[in-house]
């Protein structure tokens, strides 16, 4: 039964070097503050899992936190590329990033299987695409009743899931609403789960479409108002679209990115190679 702990304690206790870590939040409720704390604590060799890497993983990848990435759509929504992600894949800066990629349907179902502790999930999808060449994560199964061949994805079971939510109650139960993405599944698929919340309340309000996670499936809850900035928390903040647009220029340039990191107290794994890039 987690009582709120400082974010630094939550990350120190539950995120270790080499872990597979899923920070989820589909455009909405992206746990940026927790991601920065992971970077600040100098974690290395993580396998990062996330449907939409978004700026949060562009930053972590640029800082050199990740060795591998599991994802399904790696763009800056409505703006363009994630240049740190591209630089890592195309030019191996700050180091080579191994990529495992799904479609949204595939990765969502990999979490679903993980949450159910099943080794795989079945879906209609992938047939005829080159994504099927990743046979360690995408395969086929035959329906035992109809003989139809369908896609199968390997379950994702992160060591740690990290999400941001609007509310915790005094018992440490957590509530989120609005676009809730795949957060329920990510938390239930993980061995450990950390949640940052906007605030703690005595009683949860009624919200159609809300997801409630009981305290006994959570490892730590931290109160971090604004912890989703520059993404947003419905009812608390709006998306900082300007930051998303301005990020393009920061991310494009290794030197500009390293300046941003330094200004934000985020240690970078590699600072050379700055002149050599795209």
């Amino acid at each position: 039964m987690p009582r709120p702990v400082p974010l630094s304690e939550a990350i120190a206790a539950h995120v270790h070097d080499g872990d597979t870590v899923a920070l989820e939040g589909f455009t909405h409720l992206i746990p940026f503050a927790a991601a920065h704390e992971i970077a600040r604590q100098g974690r290395r060799h993580l396998t990062l899992v996330r449907m939409t890497p978004d700026l949060v993983y562009d930053q972590l990848i640029g800082l050199g936190v990740a060795d591998e990435l599991v994802f399904s759509y790696g763009g800056n929504p409505g703006v363009g590329s994630l240049h740190r992600l591209r630089d890592a894949v195309e030019k191996h800066w700050p180091h080579r990033l191994k990529v495992h990629e799904h479609s949204h349907a595939g990765l969502a179902n990999a979490y679903v299987a993980g949450a159910a502790r099943l080794p795989f999930a079945v879906l209609r999808g992938y047939r005829g695409t080159d994504l099927e060449e990743q046979r360690d994560i995408i395969s086929r199964v035959t329906c035992p009743f109809t003989g139809e061949e369908l896609a199968a994805v390997k379950a994702v079971n992160p060591d740690v899931a990290v999400i941001h939510a609007q509310l915790a109650d005094r018992d440490g139960n957590v509530m989120l609403w609005g676009i809730t993405g795949v957060q329920r599944e990510a938390v239930l698929a993980a061995e450990r789960a950390i949640v940052t919340v906007e605030e703690v309340v005595d009683e949860f309000p009624e919200h159609t479409g809300a997801v409630i996670l009981p305290n006994w499936v959570l490892s730590a809850v931290s109160v971090v108002p604004g912890g989703a900035w520059p993404s947003y928390a419905a009812g608390y903040s709006v998306r900082d679209n300007d930051f998303y647009q301005q990020w393009d220029a920061v991310s494009r340039d290794r030197a500009a990115f390293l300046r941003w990191a330094q200004e934000n107290g985020l240690p970078a794994a590699r600072v050379e190679g700055v002149e050599a890039h795209v």
Partner: protein, 250 residues
């Protein structure tokens, strides 16, 4: 008449393809513009579904991402992302899926993953997102993409989403596949026999020769080419208001 660009023409032409009442899965970029334009002009009852989970979203202004709060706040229902893909997209409840492309071949196969080798790409593109399953399961797929030899290629570097397969005969998915490819030059449609994309309509001011030059394979041209109507004042006004993100009453 107001001024308009070839990109405006492309978006307007795409919007016109939505029928009132269609259930339309909307992605970022031109599809978002086209679908919201349709809803503000001839198809007020088309149903916008966003892969973030918003069903029947009625955005008051153009959403900047597929996860804008306005989508959730105005939707009839918001579901989880797994439910969206399993119960709605995969189950075939989408009438029209709009897709973009970094590369597309003559059989409508689409690449949004990499230029070069997947293991060591020259250019890393965003990846699949919802596209492979939308391409497979939507009743009809409308591709919106600017035409150039770099994009309209003999062979895509990576098949992210299947159109009609490598030789046009391999499609096995439940939906009809890419029934229209709408570009800044005109419209391509699959040949009923071979599924090879052929130019069937030209936007105003564009020639067949220009469309051929913008295509990386010997482009087939339909026997009778339709002329696309230029954007109307109504369409252009709605388009401008969407671009300026002016709010409308829902």
């Amino acid at each position: 008449m107001s001024e308009w660009s070839s990109a405006d023409m492309m978006n307007v032409a795409a919007a016109r393809e939505l029928r009132d009442g269609d259930v339309c899965l909307v992605g970022v970029g031109p599809p978002n513009l086209a679908a919201n334009l349709a809803r503000r002009t001839h198809a007020p009852n088309c149903r916008l579904v966003y892969e973030s989970g918003a069903i029947d979203a009625k955005p008051r202004r153009l959403p900047l991402s597929i996860g804008d709060d306005d989508l959730a706040a105005t939707a009839t229902a918001v579901v989880s992302v797994p439910e969206m893909f399993n119960y709605w997209v995969g189950a075939g409840r989408i009438d029209v899926g709009f897709l973009g492309a970094a590369q597309i071949d003559r059989f409508g196969n689409i690449n949004t993953t990499v230029i070069g080798e997947h293991s060591d790409p020259k250019t890393r593109l965003p990846g699949a997102g919802g596209a492979p399953e939308i391409a497979a399961a939507a009743g009809r797929v409308i591709v919106i993409v600017k035409q150039s030899p770099r994009t309209f290629v003999e062979q895509v570097d990576f098949v992210t989403s299947v159109g009609y397969g490598p030789t046009g005969r391999e499609r096995q998915a439940p939906g009809a596949g890419p029934t229209l490819v709408i570009t800044d030059h005109g419209v391509l449609e699959p040949d009923p026999d071979t599924n090879e994309l052929a130019l069937t309509r030209l936007h105003p001011g564009v020639t067949v020769e220009q469309a051929r030059e913008a295509t990386g394979w010997p482009l087939k041209v339909a026997d009778s080419i339709q002329k696309v109507e230029p954007p109307s004042e109504v369409e252009l006004t709605a388009l401008r208001r969407l671009r300026d993100r002016e709010a409308v009453d829902a």
